[in-house]
Symmetry: C2
Subunit: 419 residues, 2 copies
């Protein structure tokens, strides 16, 4: 897509690179607009995904392999400073997603006596499909920045769910940024540079690394597996489901405040998985818990992964083939008046827990048009009945309003919100 | 290399797969021996690396992209049980490194009423260059297993280094296993299945995920960057340095107990990096701290990355071009009677630290012939003088004896030690 990226810049001498970078900085913003709608995905795992478009990238973009997610507390009390930061972030995000540095790198256009405007660890790496997706949390709409009147009803607090054990220090936050990329160093670099730019204005509340995707969001992708060994994402909302996306994923103009029309709401849940207990559970029981077979991922009683689930099917003894308390039955749209989620989670492992067990699980991310009509009823049903609950624990929660995409370089993250 | 891997198995029906798996299980062990010396590296990032050979894979194997490292405490008191575990581990490691399951998967040769002998999350993934490297820690040689007389002098405790702040709960351990692969799910799967197999006999003491390699260990690899943005691994010991490897990496027959001849000693150090402070340091200062330039990685005063460092060079004002307290000067073999290390570390990020900063750094791994003649003097010099110390903190430490490789399927991890 872009002719100039970090890899190219690096091959040039310092003087040459400075010239090209200057030319490039002006050129790339308009180029992607001229090119028409952003590509749904990078052509290869190295290529860039367009930053501009009707929707933010990183939602229906076929899920990249790696995640670095951050939630910030805003520490400045000045609305102008926050707006300025959002503008600076937007410019850096536009650059980084195209495989460029966050700012001028060191002596190349900068001053060696100053800290570099890019931290350097992604020098030489391609764009790697990086997407940066911003979301605004409920707490941003308190009395600090005069945004109370613009708070969407959809950002009302999630209810308390049975069995959850949420840690406030890794929950919530004023602003989140989801960085997905095929190279973890590129995702880490992006979040780290946004944090660096935000110094004195925002502070990292929590951050989360996901080493591997647990969901597919496009029919072009193979379904990956979660840490319980099952295919995850089979019956996910997918990029190709145009009508469902319109109905279930994207906020419609009449849904709430105008600034969110065309956006989507994101729910994050860090779910610790007790993999040692799971690993001592029989295969039959594991499959009954999910309602799918482990090897192929087919619904129980069917052969192939994408065969349609038959919830009415009965065994010879009259009991349902898909158990009543199985995860896919409890979570299925037919159980919730056709409520869908676009799941986009990642596996995590964070050392061990001091009790001889891996500290591992799923960083669940789901996008939807209205969390109170989608995530909440589904999770309430799961929290009450899912046999899976014996093996998992929800330990953090986040809810964020992700506005629509930016049309061009004149636009910035949150413009309509602060207008 | 191997004709049968997880990807292939999955394409077959259950009955067919069972037959092939049975044939394969007997066949693969001898096949790689017949094929001659193991390849130094997989041909692609999907291919397997040979498990058998004169040396353990995962030391000079060109550093794979991802790491999952685990340190176990042995909880059984019975020597036979430990030996049995090492035999079971060896069989599973031989399978997994060739892209197969840890054991029979579910109904394929197993019983659906039993927990699967493989946890399943790597089903369908190729071998991904997985290597599994075992090491025995000093504490294994206490009075529990009758190994005291076999303890190498090289496993004597490391001295306390100025400035370190080691956490015992993430340091040491009886046995470590380093899993490196190009796919993190494959590395995580391997460690998790070894832990599962070890249930009741070992307990995870600590584990560490590394999302990206920070060193190159072969001239065929591009030098990656650490989280301070500098190329790391330029002047590393490399696969191609045959004479130096013999002199500096591999334990020679006369060096200590016979069971370690042909092996190597591993030092691990988890080093927290204060990246926020670093990011506010000027480019000039950053470069003076390392003694190399940031963009290209050239020694100061030189142009290209692999130009030879000239420690004698002076600036017009008579001060040395490479500062006296720069990292490369303090760590260079010429400062330590030609002592080298083979560095094989990984970047880590583990959320944030509750103070608004990323919890990130380097999981340093170094291999060598004698840690007390190599790691210790180098680290002592660095701990005393390195300007880098303002930005880093050593928070965990490990020392492990990694025996030579296994010749064939009749051999197992630790056979010579327990003989
Ligand atoms: C560690 C926790 C979880 C695990 C391991 C897990 C795993 C799975 C698996 C294996 C499937 C079947 C394959 C598929 O269609 O994707 C599935 C389906 C699904 N899950 Fe989960 N899940 C977890 C938590 C959740 C949560 C918290 C929610 C939402 C509240 C959720 C909502 C769904 C939905 C909507 C489906 C699709 C059901 C269908 O339409 O067939 N899951 N999950
Ligand atoms: C966070 C901590 C560290 C960082 C960021 C770091 C970074 C670097 C960098 C950028 C280089 C120059 C490129 C190269 O030749 O690889 C280097 C070289 C080196 N480092 Fe480190 N290092 C760290 C800790 C250590 C430690 C703990 C040791 C051993 C005690 C060590 C030993 C070496 C050696 C032996 C060299 C090669 C010097 C030469 O021969 O030129 N480093 N390191």
């Amino acid at each position: 897509m872009t002719a100039i990226n970090r890899r190219r810049l690096l091959g040039l001498g310092a003087a040459g690179a400075a010239g090209v970078a200057a030319a490039g900085a002006g050129a790339f913003a308009t180029r992607s607009v001229l090119e028409g709608p952003p590509p749904a995905a990078a052509a290869t795992t190295s290529d860039p995904v367009s930053f501009y478009g009707e929707r933010q990238a990183g939602i229906v973009t076929p899920a990249q392999d790696r995640l670095h997610f951050v939630s910030f507390d805003v520490i400045t009390k000045k609305r102008e400073e926050l707006v300025e930061l959002l503008q600076e972030w937007t410019a850096a995000a536009a650059r980084m997603t195209q495989g460029k540095d966050a700012g001028t790198f060191g002596a190349v256009g900068g001053a060696p006596e100053a800290p570099p405007d890019d931290t350097g660890e992604a020098l030489g790496l391609p764009a790697s499909g990086l997407t940066l997706t911003i979301g605004f949390g409920p707490s941003l709409f308190d009395d600090r920045f005069g945004l109370a009147a613009k708070k969407p009803a959809a950002l009302a607090d999630l209810p308390k769910f049975p069995g959850e054990d949420l840690k406030p220090e890794i929950s919530g936050g004023d602003i989140c940024i989801q960085a997905c990329a095929h190279d973890p160093q590129v995702a880490v670099h992006a979040i780290r540079n946004l944090a660096r730019i935000g110094f004195g204005r925002v502070s990292i509340r929590w951050s989360q690394l996901g080493f591997g995707r647990t969901s597919s969001t496009s029919r072009s992708q193979a379904t990956p597996r979660n840490l319980f060994g099952f295919k995850d994402g089979t019956n996910n909302l997918k990029l190709e489901d145009a009508a469902l996306l319109k109905d279930q994923l994207w906020v419609a103009p009449g849904d709430g405040p105008a600034w969110m029309a065309g956006g989507s709401y994101m729910v994050t849940r860090k779910i610790r998985m007790n993999i040692e207990t799971w690993d001592r559970t029989s295969l039959v029981e594991q499959e009954e818990i999910f309602g799918r077979d482990k090897g192929e991922g087919a619904p129980m009683g069917k052969k192939r992964e994408f065969d349609v689930i038959d919830f009415a099917a009965k065994k010879p003894d009259g009991t349902p083939v898909i158990p009543m308390d199985s995860h896919v039955r409890l979570a299925h749209p037919s159980t919730h008046g056709n409520a869908h989620l676009l799941r986009r989670g990642y596996n995590y492992v964070e050392g061990s827990d001091g009790l001889g067990r891996l500290d591992a699980g799923l960083f669940f991310i789901a996008y939807q048009r209205d969390p109170h009509k989608q995530y909440v009823p589904i999770q309430m049903e799961l929290a009450r009945k899912d046999k899976l609950n014996e093996y998992i624990k929800h330990i953090s929660s986040g809810l964020f309003a992700c506005p629509p995409g930016l049309r061009d370089a004149g636009d910035y993250w949150g413009r309509a919100l602060f207008a």
